[in-house]
Symmetry: C4
């Protein structure tokens, strides 16, 4: 399916029945724990929460998760809490139905199904961010395509679909509060790095926390700079598909540089 076709499919109305597809089997009983996660992964997940705050990608809302290192059918995410306040003690374990393995009375984010269904659909993905990244919201509300203005945001070159929850479920409270809505969103995302959510925010994925965080940061920056470039009035030259492919591969080898900086600052407070 071409990008153009997919975009129309995603944002269209009558055809978008993803939410109506049969759900995978759901466990009737609580899932078993995969056991304690790697301490470094937990530390990175705490850092990711704070980095996203530092970089203006999330405020009191938004969440980030990581796939469990011991079991691909489990993922890790904070209890319902502002990202800036998250510590290791707040991290909970979830199964791919979005249910907590052992909630011990802790409240979960309503929209944990964004994470669970993306992990189910994308085996190579090991980190997911959901945000209301400010400069991105106007693109989601207008459908003006977000495109890579420079090499740092080359990962946008495959297209950034806009998912309209109304196409999946009519009038809602805009929240991805069921597995079916999570599946519809994951289908809109497809094989890409970022999907915008009309009137809401975005979901961003990565093969690890540094990549998902990096992509969240530079999606925000690209949105801001693209709006400025469009306002200048000339023709905007975006990266070509081949430039983007090559740039993403090269930049991918340097993610440790900002990650090291961001993590050091995030954990020093």
């Amino acid at each position: 399916m071409s990008d153009v076709t997919r975009r129309r499919f995603v944002t269209g109305g009558a055809l978008a029945l993803a939410w109506a597809l049969p759900a995978p089997r759901r466990a009737s009983a609580q899932s078993a724990s995969a056991g304690p996660a790697n301490a470094q992964l937990i530390e990175d997940l705490v850092a990711a929460n704070r980095i996203l705050v530092d970089q203006g990608v999330v405020d009191g809302y938004g969440h980030v998760s990581a796939r469990h290192d011991r079991d691909p059918n489990r993922f890790l995410m904070s209890r319902s809490l502002a990202p800036e306040l998250v510590t290791a003690a707040d991290i909970m374990e979830y199964d791919l139905d979005g249910e907590p393995v052992n909630s011990r009375g802790r409240t979960s984010y309503l929209e944990r199904f964004i994470h669970s269904e993306i992990y189910r659909a994308r085996p190579e993905i090991r980190a997911v961010v959901h945000n209301h990244s400010p400069s991105v919201i106007p693109f989601g509300a207008t459908g003006v395509p977000l495109r890579p203005l420079y090499h740092m945001s080359a990962f946008l070159a495959d297209g950034v679909p806009v998912w309209d929850i109304r196409a999946a479920a009519g009038d809602t409270d805009m929240l991805v509060r069921t597995p079916a809505l999570g599946r519809a969103l994951a289908q809109a995302l497809g094989t890409r790095a970022v999907v915008l959510m009309r009137g809401h925010g975005a979901a961003v994925v990565g093969t690890g926390l540094p990549q998902a965080v990096f992509r969240s940061v530079y999606t925000e920056v690209n949105a801001r700079l693209q709006a400025q470039a469009m306002a200048l009035g000339g023709t905007v030259t975006y990266l070509s598909a081949e430039e983007a492919r090559r740039a993403e591969a090269s930049i991918g080898g340097t993610l440790g540089r900002p990650w090291e900086l961001w993590k050091r600052k995030a954990l020093s407070r």
Copy 2:
């Protein structure tokens, strides 16, 4: 009265005689105190002052109040002071005529009638913010309607009227310095969450301090993002009325999350 009709009424000229309505009976003597307010409420009010600064909603000007927990005919607000400097010792008690119960020589905000008349008109409201929220000023000056771009600002969906003080009282110093002007403003607000004041700022209400603060913050964010969306040049899709109704109900259940974050930071300085 429809939204459209009301907007015209509010911003119109000759017809807007709200300021000329007979005032309620005013006590000739000083009102009696309702007694000491709940300590938690005072702490929240101090925090609200600082949060509004932290979030860029107020600067050296602006004020926030809370209805007294012991007497719905009293409310609490700082003496005339920059919000960032407010401490519990600065909180004064006012009656619904906007008069201090015991001023002890302290100066009151000139525009305390914004608060008193809204408390009189809206029994369910327990907190009021008056601000010069920067991104909101251009909407008040142009009459371009402020509308909910995303679920966080769903509370804007009932419409955001622009009150023009000139319609109520001709050329003034722009300040709501009398009960009559406060009543005119409260009438423009009607049953809504926010009213803009042309060439001045806004008044924002809530059923409690967290809601009034939340609404102030996300009115500012929505104004900024809506302006950006309009500048992108496409058609802006706002939340539908039903989406907004449902989103506001859902988000309403999560206000504690940012409030906990904001308050912790505000009081840790």
Copy 3:
């Protein structure tokens, strides 16, 4: 002379011969000191330097002065130094020719004649700010009139002339580096609060440091918000002349509120 006429005069070319007017008598010898200035005034001047940095009105450049409390023919200003670094020990005394009374080898700002000539022309003025206030630069470069969007910037209502140094002296280095250029600028300012300098910045005056600082801050804010209002696309309603006159009088009585806040923060570092 009407506002319109003055604006044309100020920005025009061949007619603007202000710089060619005969200069007042200049002392051939160094002026005598007026003696030590009031300690509170010095403290306020140091605070003013830092406040202007805190508020984003000046960066490593820009300067603020105060008329000497003992002699209206002397004024006080830092040696050539980034405003953020100014302490009481850096304050020098100048005469109205812009010459230091006792330089003791310290370097003076090249553009001290902005201050000296305004003090000479405007006996009621006791403080002058020169800045490159960022949001104001685009107005000076385009000649789009800066106008009061809200009550906080009511002092702009008399008009904000744009002084083009080219009209006074042809191609220059843009700096007000002579008394003659200072006089031309002061003449463009006339009786107003603010004058923009094309391709350079602005000069802002006040009857005291709090007013000059307040006006500098809200000229910057107004410029930013006015640009946003214009971009929204509707008709912008500015304060009427009478609204502005009344608002300025009222706001003038409240300057102590932000000043107390700003000064406390500036001197606590």
Copy 4:
């Protein structure tokens, strides 16, 4: 070659064969060290890294170098590291082929050839900055000419060419990862202060670190303010060539003022 001709040459396609010019002789063996650099220069280079972060010119990416004080054929730059983390121990020595004199296993920036080839082409240049300065990116992506809006950015008056790496080498990963690409960029820069890199960032040069840093900061500021001026809708008046020539000379004498401020803050953390 006129400015207009040069710009076309730089951004054109078939004619831009700079990358194909024969390379200077390259040492087959590792170059010898010029010996320890001046301690003050190292300190300034560390400070420059942090200042560029403080001023929003670089983030986790970007780099700054200085020509070695003992040997014009050597330059100094950090190992591959986020600028904010650079300390004196991270500074490495490079030859004009962009090769480290003694890497001791440390990783070099991929794009060190931006620096080496500019030092080779411009003997008077003693400092080079490469950045992704945010407000500058939209100018590089649209080709809208960056021009000096005010005296602080007078150094832009000779023109700011946009170098399109595609003209030199077709589809790439956008990185200046070879000496040939560095030479093509240096040729586009010519005798100027700044060259934009389409879809990437900019290179900025100076006769010393303070000048290169100053120019980086005010290129960013000018880009932001120029975009705002253009959006206001009037005619933008830029500095004339002669004004810019004179202003640059005058401002050049004051660089110590912001540098002293910036350095003090950068090194106090």
